[in-house]
């Protein structure tokens, strides 16, 4: 039986080397490109009729749009509207990465810490730059809660600083760990199906249940990633 870890193996499809750097087109890259294609084709095809009264597909596209728009507006507040394309792309990239990864034999790039970390670093750096551009040195007030006694500063400032710097780690580890664990669990439980012979229907029912659970988690984790990015953006735009 294949190891449950094997599904996370990066396999080059088209080897590309630029100088000493290996930037081969891998199974991970394939699913990233697939995500871009699926997102673009889905949204443009859904909106091709531009119907005033939407059909099913168009409704789905509109609901996705409004869901992300509402999430951004509710969590990031005023002035966040110009970051909507980025937040929407982030949501789609994570959501489709999670969902496409659930199809059998697929590769889940959101299970790799380097990918989620890359996204989280972009969010972290972007939010920090926005904060300093908008508030200048005043953005440093982030590290001292408003109304706290000045005496508490030596204690509070390091705590706030650590909590601020840990944002990209919690953001990326949460997503990658959830995806990795879910897929390992599916693989392990599925491994029992053949092994238990006629009683295999028990783990099979378990796999079916876990698959449903994983679909829920795929959507939920994409939402959490987006919502937290929106909240960080809110801090940058409006401070605490």
């Amino acid at each position: 039986m294949a190891s449950p870890i094997e599904q996370f193996q990066i396999k080059p499809i088209i080897p590309i080397h630029v100088g000493d750097v290996d930037i081969s087109f891998t199974n991970s890259s394939l699913y990233m490109v697939l995500t871009v294609v699926v997102a673009t084709v889905f949204l443009t095809a859904a909106m091709s009729k531009r119907a005033l009264i939407p059909g099913r597909l168009q409704s789905l596209a509109e609901i996705t749009f409004e869901f992300v728009a509402n999430t951004l507006r509710d969590n990031a507040g005023s002035g966040s509207q110009k970051y909507f394309p980025f937040i929407f792309s982030l949501f789609m990239f994570v959501l489709l990465g999670n969902l496409l990864g659930l199809t059998p034999y697929a590769f889940t790039y959101t299970s790799h810490i380097i990918v989620t970390g890359g996204l989280a670093i972009v969010v972290f750096l972007g939010v920090t730059v926005i904060g300093f551009v908008k508030h200048g040195a005043g953005y440093l007030r982030m590290f001292f809660p408003h109304g706290a006694p000045v005496v508490a500063a030596p204690l509070l400032v390091p705590i706030e600083l650590v909590s601020y710097l840990s944002r990209p780690f919690s953001l990326s580890v949460r997503l990658a760990a959830n995806m990795t664990v879910g897929h390992i669990m599916l693989k392990v439980v599925a491994g029992f199906v053949a092994g238990m012979g006629l009683l295999g229907f028990i783990p099979f029912a378990g796999v079916v249940g876990v698959t449903f659970l994983e679909f829920g988690i795929a959507c939920l984790q994409a939402y959490i990633f987006t919502v937290l990015s929106c909240i960080y953006l809110h801090d940058a735009l409006h401070l605490h």
Partner: protein
């Protein structure tokens, strides 16, 4: 675990950047404006329709107000007309009543005058008859031929004395 295979990191980061930038460009330039346009168009249509409904409602209310005002005016005018007609009728009736009263009073007075005249005449004739009767009684009782001219003044005097 393959997750920590550092040799795969450059490729993963490169393709992450490439595909995410591609997704961002496609979303912000192609997909999102279309959806946004449709949603804005729908919102505009809905608010237009609501505005139209609001305007039509206001127009209806204005029409109802005009109608009710006209109705009230017509009712007031009719009431005034009725009152005026009633007043005119009453005045006319009173005039006719007075006229009739006058005519009746004149007729009564006339009739009374005629009755008086007839009575006076009858009384005058009674005196003559009484004189004739007296002369006849005298002739029968005393066997005297009484002169009518002599009897009548006496009868008249007696009648006067009795207040006839």
């Amino acid at each position: 675990m393959p997750h920590f295979d550092v040799t795969s990191f450059p490729s993963q980061l490169f393709w992450l950047a490439a595909s995410f930038i591609a997704l961002y460009v496609l979303m912000s330039k192609v997909a999102l404006p279309r959806i946004g346009d449709i949603l804005a168009e729908r919102q505009r249509r809905i608010s237009d329709d609501l505005d139209m409904a609001e305007r039509l409602k206001a127009e209806t209310e204005a029409a109802i107000a005009t109608y009710e005002k006209a109705l009230a005016e017509a009712r007031a005018a009719a009431q005034a007309e009725i009152a005026r007609a009633l007043e005119a009728n009453a005045a006319e009736a009173a005039a006719r009543h007075a006229e009739m009263d006058a005519i009746l009073a004149a007729k009564i007075a006339d009739s009374e005058a005629r009755i008086h005249a007839a009575r006076r005449q009858a009384l005058a004739e009674v005196n003559g008859i009484a004189a004739d009767v007296a002369a006849a009684i005298v002739e029968r009782v005393a066997d005297v031929k009484a002169d009518a001219d002599a009897v009548s003044p006496v009868v008249a005097a007696i009648a006067k004395e009795r207040g006839l």
